[in-house]
C-alpha cells in the first residue's frame, strides 16, 4: 500500500489496492467453486457406491478445468424470441451478488475487505437480490419450462428468506451486533461459547433455509429435471450456463461459510480454553474457518445424495408453517436469555 502510494496519486492507490484485494478473494473462491463441483461428484459417487470422475489428471483433479474449457468453447445459443439483453444479463445477476457478499466477510480477526457495521444486513440483502437472475432468466428465455422454473424459484426464495432473516435476527440478538467480526468475537471463549449450542434450532433452520435459498436438493424444484427439464436455465448453453453454475456453487459456499461464521465461531480455534489451545496456536484462523465451512459444504452434498425432491406444497408448508413459527419462538427465548444475562453465552 505504502509502496503504491509513493508513486501514484492518493485516491488511485487506494482503488488499486482494493481491486487487488478483491482479486485475492475472488480468484481462490473461483478455484474453490471449481473444485467444489468435483467434490460434489466424488461425494455423491461415493455415497452411491461409485468412485466418481477419475480420468482427467490424477484422481480426476483436472476434471473441473476440463469442464470449464468445454463450456467455454461451446456455442452460446440465443433463442430467437428471447429478450437478448436480459437473457445475457441474467447469469451475471446470479453470480454478482454471490461474489459481492464476500466483501464484508471476515476471514480472520483482521482479514476483511470492508468492515461494515451492517454487514449481516448487507449479506441478507444480497442473498435476496440473487433471485433476480433466476426470474429474469426464466422470463427472458421465452420458454414455458423456464418461466415455470422461475416462478417456482421466486416463490420459494421469497418464502425461505423470511425464515432465514428470523434466524439471523436470533444471531444478532445473541451477539448484539450486525458486524460479522463482532458476531464472531461474541462467540469467543470455547467450543461451547459458540452459538451452535444456544441457537441450535436457528442453526438448523438457517442452514435448511440456505439449502432452499440456493435451490439445491431436496428443494431444487426450480430445476426439477423430471418435471420441467432444467427449469430456469433450459435455454442456456456454454458460458452463460457456466456462469449460472458458478453462481449456484458460489452461493452454496457462501451459505456454508456464513453458517460457520454465525454458529460455529468463524475463525476461532475449536481448542480454545482447553489444554490443546497452545498446541494449535500456530494454525491460522483462516484454516479453522475453511474447515468449518467444509463441514456445511459437505452437508449440502450429503443432502443431495440422500433426500428425494420435496413436493411444491410441502416446501411452502415447511417454510411458512414450520420454520417461521419455530424461529419466532426461539427469538423470544434468546431475547429472554439476553435480558436475564443467562451465563455463559449471554453474559
Amino acid at each position: 500500500m505504502e509502496l503504491l502510494d509513493s508513486f501514484l496519486p492518493h485516491g488511485l492507490a487506494t482503488v488499486i489496492w482494493i481491486v487487488l484485494k478483491i482479486v485475492l478473494i475472488v480468484l481462490p473462491l473461483m478455484v474453490l467453486v471449481a473444485y467444489y463441483t468435483l467434490a460434489e461428484r466424488k461425494v455423491i459417487g461415493f455415497m452411491q457406491v461409485r468412485i466418481g470422475p477419475n480420468r482427467v489428471g490424477p484422481n480426476g483433479l483436472g476434471q473441473p478445468i476440463a469442464d470449464a474449457l468445454k463450456l467455454m468453447f461451446k456455442e452460446i445459443i440465443l433463442p430467437t424470441k428471447a429478450n437478448k439483453v436480459l437473457f445475457l444479463i441474467a447469469p451475471l445477476l446470479t453470480l454478482g451478488p454471490a461474489l459481492a457478499a464476500w466483501a464484508v466477510f471476515p476471514f480472520d480477526a483482521e482479514l476483511v475487505l470492508a468492515d461494515v457495521n451492517a454487514g449481516l444486513l448487507y449479506i441478507l440483502a444480497l442473498t435476496s437480490v440473487g433471485v433476480y437472475g433466476v426470474i429474469i432468466a426464466g422470463w427472458a428465455s421465452n420458454s414455458k419450462y423456464a418461466l415455470l422454473g422461475a416462478v417456482r424459484s421466486a416463490a420459494q426464495i421469497v418464502s425461505y428468506e423470511i425464515a432465514m432473516g428470523f434466524a439471523i435476527v436470533g444471531v444478532l440478538v445473541a451477539a448484539g451486533s450486525l458486524n460479522l467480526g463482532d458476531i464472531v468475537r461474541a462467540q469467543d471463549g470455547s467450543l461451547f461459547h459458540w452459538f451452535w449450542l444456544p441457537l441450535f434450532p436457528l442453526l438448523v433452520i438457517y442452514f435448511i433455509s440456505g439449502v432452499a435459498e440456493t435451490n439445491r436438493a431436496p428443494f431444487d424444484v426450480a430445476e426439477g429435471e423430471s418435471e420441467i427439464v432444467a427449469g430456469f436455465h433450459v435455454e442456456y448453453s456454454g458460458m452463460t450456463f457456466a456462469v449460472f453454475f458458478l453462481g449456484e456453487y458460489a452461493n452454496m459456499i457462501l451459505i456454508s461459510a456464513l453458517t460457520a461464521l454465525m454458529f460455529l465461531g468463524g475463525w476461532l480455534s475449536p481448542f480454545q480454553g482447553t489444554f490443546l489451545e497452545p498446541v494449535f496456536a500456530w494454525v491460522p484462523g483462516l484454516v479453522w474457518l475453511f474447515l468449518k465451512t467444509a463441514i456445511f459444504a459437505f452437508l449440502f452434498l450429503w443432502f443431495r445424495a440422500t433426500f428425494p425432491r420435496y413436493r411444491y406444497d410441502q416446501i411452502m408448508r415447511l417454510g411458512w408453517k414450520v420454520f417461521i413459527p419455530i424461529t419466532i419462538v426461539w427469538i423470544m427465548v434468546v431475547g429472554l436469555a439476553v435480558v436475564l444475562e443467562l451465563p455463559w453465552w449471554f453474559d
Binding site: M47, V49, R50, T306
Partner: protein, 162 residues
C-alpha cells in the same frame, strides 16, 4: 399419543437423520466400479456381441445360404442374396446385417445349421459414417477370421447345452 410421538419425531428430523446415516455409511463402503478400459467385467461364453461368419479349416466359408437366419430374424436385419458358384455349390452373393436394426437376440446363431453365423464377444465398435452400420459378407468373414479361436472355444464350451 402416537400423534404426539410422530410430532416429536418429525420435529427432531429423526427420519431424515436415519436417511443421512444410511448414505453416510455407504460413503465408506467398498466401491465396486470396474475401471473399464483397464479392467473388464467377466464375460460369459454366451455373450452376444458383433456378428461374424465362420469358415471351415480348409478356408471354405460355412454359410450355405439356407436363409434360416433371415427367416428367423425378428428385426428383419438380415438380407441374403443367393447364387450358384462356378463349382455348383449354393452360396450367398450378398449377406448383409444391418446393425441398426439388429437387436442381438442370437436367433440367427441358434437357427444356423452349420454354425456359420455367430455372435462374438466383440462389443467395442463404433460407426463414424452412414453405411458403416451394414455388416457386409466380407466384413463378417473378416471378423470371423480374426476371432476364430475364441469363437470355436466358446461354441465348444456351450456344445453340451445345445
Amino acid at each position: 399419543m402416537t400423534v404426539f410421538k410422530n410430532y416429536i419425531k418429525s420435529l427432531f428430523l429423526l427420519e431424515l437423520l436415519k436417511g443421512l446415516r444410511l448414505t453416510g455409511r455407504y460413503f465408506f463402503a467398498k466401491k465396486f466400479t470396474v475401471q473399464y478400459p483397464e479392467e473388464r467385467a467377466p464375460m460369459s461364453p454366451r455373450f452376444r456381441g458383433l456378428h461374424a461368419q465362420r469358415r471351415y479349416d480348409n478356408g471354405e466359408e460355412r454359410c450355405i445360404a439356407c436363409k434360416l437366419c433371415e427367416a428367423t430374424c425378428p428385426a428383419l436385419a438380415i438380407t441374403i442374396d443367393v447364387e450358384a458358384r462356378e463349382d455348383g455349390s449354393r452360396r450367398t452373393s450378398r449377406y448383409d446385417i444391418d446393425l441398426f436394426k439388429c437387436i442381438f437376440c442370437g436367433f440367427c446363431q441358434e437357427s444356423c445349421p452349420v454354425d456359420a453365423i455367430v455372435e462374438t464377444r466383440v462389443y467395442e465398435y463404433a460407426f463414424e459414417k452412414r453405411g458403416e452400420n451394414i455388416m457386409t459378407k466380407d466384413k463378417l468373414l473378416a471378423v470371423g477370421d480374426e476371432h476364430e479361436s475364441q469363437i470355436s472355444a466358446d461354441i465348444a464350451a456351450q456344445a453340451k447345452y445345445r
